[in-house]
């Protein structure tokens, strides 16, 4: 009755294993592009989601073609530059939008060529390496906001020597006490900086009416993103985690094509209104909030889906959950958006962001929070402060730290996510 060593059934993988929708298939997927392809297949029922991915994938390549044909393109820091850039006919690309094929060389270039210490945050190392590798490409302008992160400022100084034109917006932070007078001074200073930036980039002042138009467009688009999140409450798996992550990412710079991005959102709204409910293969859906940076290791998002989770609330630097603020002058609106009603989009004290996160968690019925930060980033400390707060509110959370370098997520990160969802299910 004992087993024979030739019983192949024990060692051969199941042949019918093809869908890619199971956690055990994860190790077969490599790199961001494979995950996107796989997710497109999974969303074959939704032309809108497929279009969203296509927009994301063609973003940088199309912008480079635009630049080669004489158009203006700039790499920008922070998710707040779209209205100003589009008002100047400049296509904005976030500085951290890196090559999705994820060259292994980026980190070694940062360490060897730029002599960055090993402990440097991986976002800085990856970006430096990526910019170096792309130094012969046509996009040369970098718009850097000095108040965002010191390591990034240093990185931008270093790439200036590689032929990039670095345009700085001087640092300013929202006053901690929200004193209206001090805030007004801060806003005026920042608005002046933005006006100067426009002149440095184009040689002339920006047309304020166009900035106004672009802010109105941004608000319209954010309204549509919110509508999608609302509709998704009753059908969380219609757009899976990676897809929603791309939707949120796109809401900052519209993948360089505002009209197409907006039309895709319209289509998505139409689809969601009539879509059949998508059941989880695992039965119950565990609704989660994702707070912090977005991981370039797409396997994490797939793991969430495969384990029966769904990220229904994203609290990332793009503040899609509220409109751009109104001000007398549209540049002051941008300044206020940068500084944020609640202490800024990632600027200033992390305590400012507790209430907005709380609102998102409640509004979107998240039963747990994933806090994500990058290895070596000072924001990891923010995460701990925020986790303590939610622990006191009895909302379970988990802190994840990953590298910014594009690659597979570590086994331990996957274990943490999976165990967290098991704990909540």
């Amino acid at each position: 009755m004992s087993l024979t060593t030739t019983d192949k059934r024990l060692v051969e993988p199941v042949k019918s294993f093809a869908s890619g929708s199971d956690i055990r298939n994860l190790h077969k997927l490599h790199g961001q592009l494979t995950y996107i392809e796989q997710s497109k297949k999974e969303h074959a029922y939704s032309p809108a989601v497929v279009k969203l991915y296509d927009l994301a994938l063609s973003y940088v390549a199309d912008a480079e073609t635009h630049a080669r044909n004489g158009g203006r393109v700039a790499r920008v820091m922070g998710p707040w530059m779209a209205p100003l850039m589009y008002a100047m006919d400049i296509v904005p690309i976030p500085l951290n939008e890196l090559d999705r094929s994820g060259s292994d060389d980026t980190i070694t270039i940062a360490e060897d060529h730029f002599q960055l210490p090993k402990e440097t945050c991986s976002m800085v190392s990856s970006m430096l390496g990526d910019l170096y590798l792309h130094r012969d490409r046509p996009i040369k302008d970098l718009v850097v906001f000095n108040g965002r992160c010191e390591p990034l400022n240093i990185a931008s100084d270093l790439v200036a020597a590689e032929g990039y034109r670095v345009h700085r917006i001087e640092a300013v932070n929202r006053p901690l006490d929200n004193d209206p007078e001090r805030l007004a001074v801060t806003v005026r200073f920042l608005a002046d900086e933005l006006a100067d930036l426009a002149i440095r980039l184009t040689g002339k002042p920006v047309d304020l009416a166009r900035v106004e138009f672009e802010i109105a467009r941004s608000n319209r688009i954010l309204g549509k993103v919110r509508r999608i999140f609302d509709l998704r409450k009753s059908n969380p798996l219609y757009i899976k985690t990676l897809g929603t992550m791309f939707m949120v990412t796109g809401s900052a710079n519209f993948f360089g094509k505002p009209e197409q991005y907006e039309a895709t959102l319209d289509l998505l709204i139409e689809e969601l209104i009539t879509a059949d409910y998508i059941r989880s293969a695992r039965g119950k859906i565990v609704q989660l909030a994702w707070v912090g940076g977005r991981s370039p290791a797409f396997g994490l998002y797939k793991t969430i889906d495969d384990c029966g989770g769904a990220v229904t609330a994203w609290a990332t630097p793009n503040s899609w959950s509220q409109d751009w603020p109104r001000a007398r002058n549209p540049l002051e609106s941008i300044a206020l958006q940068i500084l944020g009603k609640t202490g800024g989009n990632g600027l200033g004290s992390p305590v400012h962001r507790l209430k907005p996160i709380e609102r998102l968690v409640n509004e979107f019925g998240a039963s747990g929070i994933i806090f994500y930060s990058f290895l070596g980033c000072f924001r990891g400390v923010h995460q701990e402060i925020q986790r303590d707060h939610f622990q006191k509110l009895a909302i379970p959370s988990i802190g994840l730290e990953g590298t910014f370098h594009v690659g597979p997520p570590s086994g331990q990160l996957l274990t943490r996510i999976r165990a967290f969802i098991e704990m909540l299910s």
Binding site: L10, L26, R418
Partner: protein, 289 residues
């Protein structure tokens, strides 16, 4: 082993299904638990490169002990570092994280468990457990640094010319408290070398290393908050030197169980296997695919 001799009081009737298997593929060792009638069978082997082959080896071992064949297996749950790759044609299977499995296994072996220290080959964890049902309430994992893991102890054993099994035993013979100040494996290694060069006894160095490791684990326990009863699971759990260092540093006794706690994860996986099996059958009865 008879279930009654191993499981916590009141837990025997909760593990009623026969022929369910839990397989825990760790980074160093792979363990399996088969619930077979009133018996609990265990098997252990070194983890190979191929997790599927390692699992097959364990199942063959269990087959030899009990006579069961693949077609007799009702359900298998894989856990541990190598669980991802597990998949079988001959019987249904699932994967569950080692965190949930260790919690469930510890609960079945000691029902009052609220805190678990789990030290494996490549990471260490502190897990908070609900004593009512064995579910995870909170957990924290250290995988950033090898200090406080089996891998670290292995390295040190090598440096001190001990086997891994000897290392813990010898640490208990220590007579002198030595300080290993570094929490980093690389630096701790060089400290071990200089302590040896200074002529310190190997037993004392071994004890110092266990204390240095236990300090890191204590930090994890503090993070989740220690609540008794405390148990120690994972591949390092039968190392007496580590157990002693943890009890000293945490200031709390570790409960002893009747089954070697290296099997806690596999036992928990077997409990989940029973639940999955029952879930399938309940769904089939209701006509849900």
């Amino acid at each position: 082993m008879n279930k009654h001799d191993v499981l916590a009081d009141g837990k025997v009737s909760d593990l009623r299904l026969t022929n369910v298997i839990g397989v825990d593929i760790g980074s160093r060792q792979a363990k399996a638990v088969l619930v077979y009638g009133e018996e609990i069978q265990t098997a252990i082997t070194a983890s190979g490169v191929d997790s599927q082959e390692t699992a097959a080896r364990l199942i063959r071992k269990l087959g030899k002990q009990t006579g069961i064949e693949p077609r007799d297996i009702a359900y298998l749950v894989g856990t541990g570092y190598g669980r991802i790759a597990l998949d079988f044609d001959a019987f249904p299977s699932e994967v569950v994280t080692e965190i949930s499995c260790h919690a469930m296994g510890a609960h079945f072996l000691n029902a009052g468990t609220r805190t678990i220290i789990d030290i494996g080959g490549q990471d260490s964890k502190a897990i908070k457990v609900d004593p009512d049902n064995g579910r995870v309430v909170d957990f924290v994992m250290n995988d950033k640094c090898a200090a406080g893991t089996g891998r670290f102890l292995e390295k040190v054993a090598e440096l001190l010319d001990y086997t891994l099994e000897e290392l813990g035993e010898k640490a208990k013979l220590s007579e002198k408290k030595l300080e290993i100040s570094s929490q980093c494996v690389v630096f701790a290694e060089s400290e071990v070398i200089s302590l040896k060069a200074r002529g310190e006894r190997r037993e004392d160095i071994a004890a110092a290393i266990h204390f240095a490791s236990a300090r890191r684990v204590r930090n994890l326990v503090n993070r989740v908050g220690l609540e008794p009863e405390l148990v120690f699971s994972g591949g390092v759990s039968n190392n007496p030197g580590m157990r002693f260092a943890l009890e000293e540093l945490i200031g709390h006794p570790i409960r002893t169980t009747k089954l070697d706690m290296v099997y806690a994860g596999a036992l928990g996986a077997a409990v989940f296997a029973q639940r999955y099996y029952e879930g399938i059958h309940a769904a089939a009865e209701k006509g849900v695919a």
